[in-house]
Amino acid sequence: MAAVLDHIHMGANNVYTTAHDITQTYKIGHYDGGFMSSITVGHKAVPLGGGVYIEIESLIDPFATSDLTKLPWWYTKALAAPEKAIWSGLCLRVNTMEELGEIAKRHGGVISPRAGRRTRPDGPGVKFWSAPSGPKVVNAWETGRPNWYCWEDRLYVHPSGQPVIPAPGLVDVQGVSWLEMGGTEQEMADWLGQHPDTLNMKFNGKSLGLYAVAVKTDMGEVVIRRRSATE
């Protein structure tokens, strides 16, 4: 079965102000996603409808480590961007671990040896598996390419389905209508193993990565542009 869009990563300098800015500017709500297992990274989720969400992340504890190599790869890029936030990752979803394993193998890697985890302020831990992973596999997001997740039987608590804060004037989000990607359609098709049209991707021929996300809402289409992580 073809993979579907799962989430989009926005690396930011400040998860609070960036989430606030997204809600104020685009009238799309968010909620507190807690913190990642790396503990230096805080998380807010922006449901977009259609089973998709943006995850905004930033450092929340700059003193957690003095080893700068442990800081997220996107952090300095986010600081350098005009909005202090960048599109730093695109993630697709498959339904089964078998499918995830096949994708990992096709890319010369394996499924991540440990599940990814996030701790929510109010709920059970969030757990997911990703691919491709492995010593010879470069982090897909750092090269501007999508990776894949599997939530196993945990779709019932998928981040895209959780309630957002009650801010005034929010629009009703109805899914992602298109994505603007760098590179070419053929490059992406080769990477994905499925046609990019299945993910409503358009291509601008620039360096690989995500450049814009268009969200369908009851008040019309909203386009969110940010610098791509590879720019």
């Binding site: 709920g123 945990r154 779709l155 019932y156 389905g161």
Partner: protein, 242 residues
């Protein structure tokens, strides 16, 4: 997941009082605000892979001026308090749901019925797309029998929504078993699923049909067993035999 338990329905004379009592009894939180026509539900998530109890009851007493068989059944089974009145199974695809419909020689209640009044609606207006079978004038619940559901989009499943905080709250880790009336053979025949006791975590007590208890695991806590009589204990299923 294949065929699995999705949720249990607990009919209540006062859903607020019942949810409060269950919370104090078991430490299970619940969320509020979902309704359909004259009925509302408080949802008690039970943990992975996505189970819940829906505590249901009338919230529009004015509709009782126009009684029907189903409303009378609800009144009768809640006269003496909470009764489990529904075992709701789930499948992972529309094809599997249609197989059950074919087995019962009936149709699927579609998830995309355009009439919003035909759906459960949450406090924020969200309607969860939900297909089920069997379809018909009389609910099979009245005979103590389960029905089956399919959700094309599980990301908003009722079991995953956040609850109000609850004093002494525990974190449920899922259904361990459900005690039902009747025998495995009876249920296997109804569902057309041989040896259903090895497919679903069911215990059979040979009493009247329906749910009698559910056991839920909880983090750093003893298992929680919630016992309430089956609806058939209050109103025999023979009343609806035809």
């Amino acid at each position: 997941m294949g065929l699995h338990i999705d949720h249990l329905s607990l009919a209540s004379p006062n859903i607020f009082r019942s949810a409060d009592a269950l919370c104090k009894e078991a430490g299970l939180g619940y969320w509020t605000g979902e309704w359909i026509r004259d009925t509302a539900v408080h949802i008690v998530p039970l943990g992975p892979p996505g189970n819940f109890i829906e505590i249901s009851g009338f919230v529009d007493v004015h509709t009782l001026k126009n009684m029907d068989e189903h409303k009378q059944w609800i009144l009768d089974i809640t006269e003496t308090g909470d009764h489990f009145n529904g075992l709701c199974l789930g499948v992972d695809s529309m094809e599997e749901l249609e197989q059950f419909a074919a087995h019962w020689k009936t149709k699927v209640n579609p998830f995309n019925n355009p009439d919003p009044a035909a759906h459960f609606q949450r406090a924020n207006g969200y309607i969860l797309p939900m297909a089920s079978t069997p379809s018909g004038k009389r609910s099979v619940w009245m005979k103590g029998l389960p029905n089956v559901y399919y959700y094309p989009d599980r990301t908003h499943h009722s079991s995953g929504q956040p609850t109000h905080p609850c004093e002494g709250m525990v974190r449920p880790t899922g259904i361990k078993w459900v005690e039902v009336g009747g025998t495995e053979e009876e249920l296997s025949t109804w569902l057309g699923v041989p040896n259903v006791g090895s497919v679903l975590p069911l215990k059979f007590n040979g009493k009247s049909l329906g749910v009698w208890a559910v056991c839920v695991g909880a983090e750093e806590h003893d298992d929680i067993v919630i016992r309430r009589p089956a609806a058939s204990d209050a109103v025999p299923v023979s009343k609806f035999a035809d």
